[in-house]
Symmetry: C2
Subunit: 315 residues, 2 copies
């Protein structure tokens, strides 16, 4: 099948319903934000053997790729609009593979209200790689940013931490752990939370490189420090059990990648509990923004814990 056949069969159906895609039949797409809004644009890439294992179903690979980009939109408080996709595949890729990949995109497009607007499909002599550019909209001037944290802010995180890193570890060790695996394969972009935090959070980002490293980014951009209390970090039952067995696994909670939960700061009187109830989503106060130029983690006895590994380094 040539490139045009691929586009016709697998990708055009994904662009239906979004007029700006021009039905994938022109040189480019045409996009306008709604009046009073601006566009939020993010781009992530993944490559086999580095960002996913390779034996996953293509649908899962596609859904995780879309979701990690949606998580960046969530971190800015944006509402998903459309996305552009570059698919780089070896020549021996089967129609079944493509069918599953496209089906995964279709499924998550419906779930998150986003459409394909354009892209490119190319052959590669190497391993499969993918790049996705996601566009969202946000009321002009209102997007969440990393740089607004204020001294005295409470630091919050959504849902639980460390599950994805531990899920990957269990997969690599061949130990069945469905709940943790699910969190590794299929992150949940916190779009509703991000949108509700507009006007409430002072700073926000999604945790992709590990809690400590990403909180470090918020602190650096905001020129503040932070203190975290390890015993307040929200853990799932599965992660709690693992950490109880082996305290070294706290590193997965503090520095593991791929959480895709929102990390945000807000004033002490911000209505975060109300928000958690209305979204039916766990939002946990895990520390506070300080004047010191450092991120500190305290144990139950308020002693500083030293954490060896600082997030995930790609090179």
């Amino acid at each position: 099948m040539d490139e045009f056949g691929l586009i016709e069969r697998y990708f055009k159906p994904l662009s239906t319903g979004f007029s700006g895609s021009l039905n994938l039949s022109d040189d480019a797409a045409i996009i306008s934000p709604p009046p009073g809004h601006e566009l939020v644009i993010t781009k992530d890439a993944i490559s086999q053997g580095v960002h996913y294992l390779g034996h996953e179903s293509p649908a899962l690979i596609a859904r995780k790729l879309l979701r990690t980009n949606l998580s960046d939109l969530a971190a800015m408080g944006a509402t998903p609009l459309c996305y552009f996709l570059a698919v780089m595949l070896p020549k021996n890729t089967t129609p079944e593979w493509l069918e599953s990949f496209a089906q995964g995109l279709q499924q998550d497009q419906k779930e998150f209200g986003i459409h394909l607007a354009g892209g490119d499909t190319i052959a590669t002599l190497g391993t499969p790689s993918f790049s996705l550019t996601a566009l969202g909209t946000v009321p002009a001037g209102k997007s969440l940013r990393r740089g607004g944290a204020q001294i005295g802010d409470i630091i919050y995180v959504s849902d639980t931490l460390g599950d994805s890193a531990l899920g990957l570890m269990m997969l690599q060790k061949n130990i069945p752990s469905p709940a943790l695996e699910q969190r590794y394969y299929l992150p949940e972009p916190r779009l509703a939370l991000g949108q509700q935090l507009l006007g409430i959070a002072h700073a926000a980002m999604d945790i992709s490189d590990g809690l400590l490293q990403d909180l470090g980014h918020i602190c650096a951009q905001s020129q503040v420090g932070a203190t975290l209390y390890r015993d307040r970090l929200p853990l799932s039952e599965a992660t709690q059990a693992l950490v109880h067995q082996d305290a070294a696994l706290w590193n997965a909670v503090l520095s593991g990648g791929d959480d895709y939960e929102l990390l945000f700061t807000a004033a002490p009187n911000a209505p975060i509990e109300t928000l958690a109830r209305s979204l039916n989503l766990r939002l946990t106060a895990i520390g506070e923004i300080t004047v010191e130029n450092a991120v500190r983690v305290l144990d139950e006895n308020k002693n500083i814990i030293s954490v060896p590994r600082k997030g995930f380094a790609h090179f």
Copy 2:
């Protein structure tokens, strides 16, 4: 060097001067088209050994990647605004390689007035691949499109055809041919022409997959046919000499890829000659839009030429 070091050293300098990039320090960029304008967005990917040979200077690879995307913006009549870049590299990539790659981008950013707004840098276990998403702006509702060709329109093409395909052929045969090589390595996005064609051309696109295949796209989208006159096709001196030696090389002119010239149609009374003079750019009438549902090529005696190969198929 970790990902953040790479961004800091090589990519942040490319985002300077474009405030929407947020200094590459947030989860996403924030973009608004100017009042009365909409955004034109295109995405192309390239992979070593498929889209470039591998021994080129990294600066040339970067510039061609940027220019092929700019050519898509030119085809819509857009003015370049910013771009997002995904760089997928083996772990053993050297700082010298990255330095040259970034220097190539810097050079062409200046030439074409565009800035880096965001992206991703990842490791791959395979060959290097790159994906670029380019954004341009166009007055709302005015962009050039493929679907507007009208029966009786004259078909035009900018500059000369076939040079890039023949340049690649000469490179592969190790025959020095600087003029043709240059056209292969460094296409010229026809941005000024595209912008000037707004309100004049009925249909337009850039030739990336070969004249005949791409004219086929205009005809399909416009539901018309076309007749081309082979002896009117504009050839450079180098290409003319090669075609004179071996008539089979006409295929490179008719179906070779990577021309990145603009192909457009306009009414017979459109001021194309004036435009050519003001831009100091060769614009040649090569045929006309017809009612038949086919693209025909006629030789000097008005006999139909059959053309074996239909453009470049990626898979």
